[in-house]
Symmetry: C2
DNA sequence: ATTATTAATGTAAGCGCTTACAGTAATCCA
DNA sequence: TGGATTACTGTAAGCGCTTACATTAATAAT
């Protein structure tokens, strides 16, 4: 170990350069543009690199190069698995170009989201992966002022400037609702995540209403319960729904987590699913097929979204401008929790 | 916007200093040691900061200050929820000191883990949060050479040098096994995650064997199936187990995810749980109580581990040396999937 | 062999911040 | 009121890298 190296300090490019008897520029080139360097000197340098256990200082590199090969992802929550698969795919796609991902979560809070975006940008994110359409105007301003490549996922961007890869939440929800309504359900409840800063949640509710309207039901008759994102909240919301109107025969849920909560609540209350009440979810996370009864839900292309988002971002960096708004298909997955309503004697 | 500022460039400390008509040093102090600055100039500076939308460049700051207030967490997988709660608690505890977390996942691969550690350290992590005890020797060497505060979670460190906060996997598994064996089970299968680079998985198997031994059963008679980490793998492992020995009455699983797969496989095969076969899990993730039948499992203090790990790391940074090895309790959660074996006619 | 090209390497100027040190203004005490 | 403290603020030297440009070595062309 060189004498000028305290044991707690990492070796620097400088150290490598001295050890290999070349300039720092050459070492840098070996690492970043190896084709510009003779095989012989390259070997000398690489030997020194591994001998010293050198690894470039990220901050210094970002500072000098003004890019980081890092992309930031901000998801509303890490708590459940909805975004996990998408992120995994995003990361994997980045890896093919040796780019890396950093994740942050906003806890569904617009202020935190802005903070996190600032943070990731300060950390040098070359681009950003965001969920949904509904963001603080300040965020949009920030991103466009800084000219930061961004792609919105899980939605279709309403801003032509911002790339997106997602699906039509409204249509998907409408399709599922039509499927259910055609079975004969008339009294319908909907358990949704809070719709305030959440376009996806809103669209899913709207889709259900639209389906009702098309089939001649009053969309305003939909009983809506908004709640937080957890199984327990779904549990309670289901109970509130049934307490408010015991003749509901179909409870649609804005996502699978809430639906699982609803299933639990039903069992707890001795309500049979789907004999007494049908329940549907949305997302098709692993949970949906594992639960009893298995959940009828909307399958969402998590992985594809993650992968394509990474591609868009990487292309944008290369200056390629490809299709900026990718709309993917969803499909209804019929499982056990949805059935025709049983004729029930009105009290 | 100052003329020297291209629209795509972030404002710098310099810009703020000019706008506030002070030196860069003063701006820096306002941000980092506000008590050293007069209220009047502080206000001038802060106004300029918000007017310009300034946010410090992370890389430059890390480079100059030689610390980042950032801690890295490396987990084996993001795919399921086992580590999510722990991480969330870790992050939350860091926030109280305005520190932040960056996450990476190793996919249970020691090589990737080393890469990720290098990466996080290059990114300036002031400390590291790792899962388990089983790491590449190179990792230990790297960490001690660099003097990087590290805490191992989900385990009890076998290296007195490295702090840890976890629980005794062997004892926890043994306790659960005793509970089950005392019900009368004799033929036992165990579905485990791969034990190769995974001390937790190994200890859980050993715990079961130990319990068998204590009760006079041959520990070698335990039928072990190792597999990957997923519901589907648990499904297949269960089938293999039952194909190999149809008189098994208890299938212990190294974690809840595998156990849920086992439950599915049983239902699929028409095996009733717990009447025909009992199944146990480990971890007590949300899934465990939601599944039918609800899973008997070992409750693990995810949140506490995350929180305490953050505390240890923060203390270490302040130079406080507190208890370096925290051992937490686990407890068996009895639910529906475990019952006494039914007397079965030996065909 | 000599010159024109091209390829490989070196030199040095920053990137945006923090902080030791120096300098200046404000406050204290006799 | 003058000198000694003390409290702020400024100056400037890096932190560890990348990269435009200059220089030197290798190769091609005449």
């Amino acid at each position: 170990m060189p004498a000028n190296l305290r044991s707690t300090d990492l070796p620097t490019l400088q150290d490598v350069a001295e050890a290999a008897k070349v300039s720092t520029a050459t070492v840098s080139r070996c690492l970043n543009n190896p084709e510009q360097v003779t095989a012989r000197t390259k070997k000398r340098v690489m030997d020194a690199v591994s001998r010293l256990g050198y690894s470039p200082n990220f901050g210094a590199r970002a500072l000098a190069a003004r890019r980081t090969n890092t992309f930031g992802a901000i998801i509303p929550t890490m708590d459940n698995a909805i975004f996990a698969r998408g992120l995994q795919a995003f990361q994997k796609a980045l890896e093919t170009e040796h780019a890396t991902m950093i994740v942050a979560s906003s806890s569904y809070d617009p202020d935190i989201e802005l903070d996190q975006i600032r943070n990731l940008v300060a950390r040098g994110a070359d681009g950003l992966f965001l969920i949904g359409n509904d963001h603080d105007p300040e965020i949009y301003e920030f991103l466009s002022r800084r000219n930061i490549p961004t792609v919105l996922a899980w939605t279709i961007s309403s801003d032509p400037e911002l790339a997106s890869v997602g699906f039509n939440n409204l249509e998907a929800s409408r399709t599922l609702a039509l499927e259910a309504l055609n079975l004969g359900h008339q009294r319908i409840g909907f358990i949704s995540a809070h719709t305030a800063h959440n376009d996806r949640a809103r669209d899913r509710v709207r889709g259900a209403r639209k389906a009702m309207e098309e089939l001649g039901l009053d969309p305003e008759a939909l009983r809506l319960e908004e709640t937080n994102y957890s199984i327990d909240c779904g549990f309670e919301a289901f109970n509130r729904l049934m307490a408010a109107d015991k003749e509901i025969t179909l409870v649609m849920c804005g996502n699978d987590v809430l639906a699982v909560g609803a299933l639990q609540a039903a069992r707890h209350a001795g309500i049979r699913i789907p004999e007494d009440v049908s329940v549907t979810g949305f997302d098709d996370i692993e949970l949906a097929r594992v639960v009893t009864p298995a959940l009828t839900t909307v399958h969402v292309p998590h992985r594809q979204m993650g992968r394509l988002a990474a591609q868009l971002l990487l292309e944008e960096r290369k200056g390629e401008t490809s299709s900026r708004h990718i709309v993917l298909d969803t499909n209804v997955v019929l499982r056990e929790s949805l059935a025709p309503p049983k004729f029930r004697d009105k009290r």
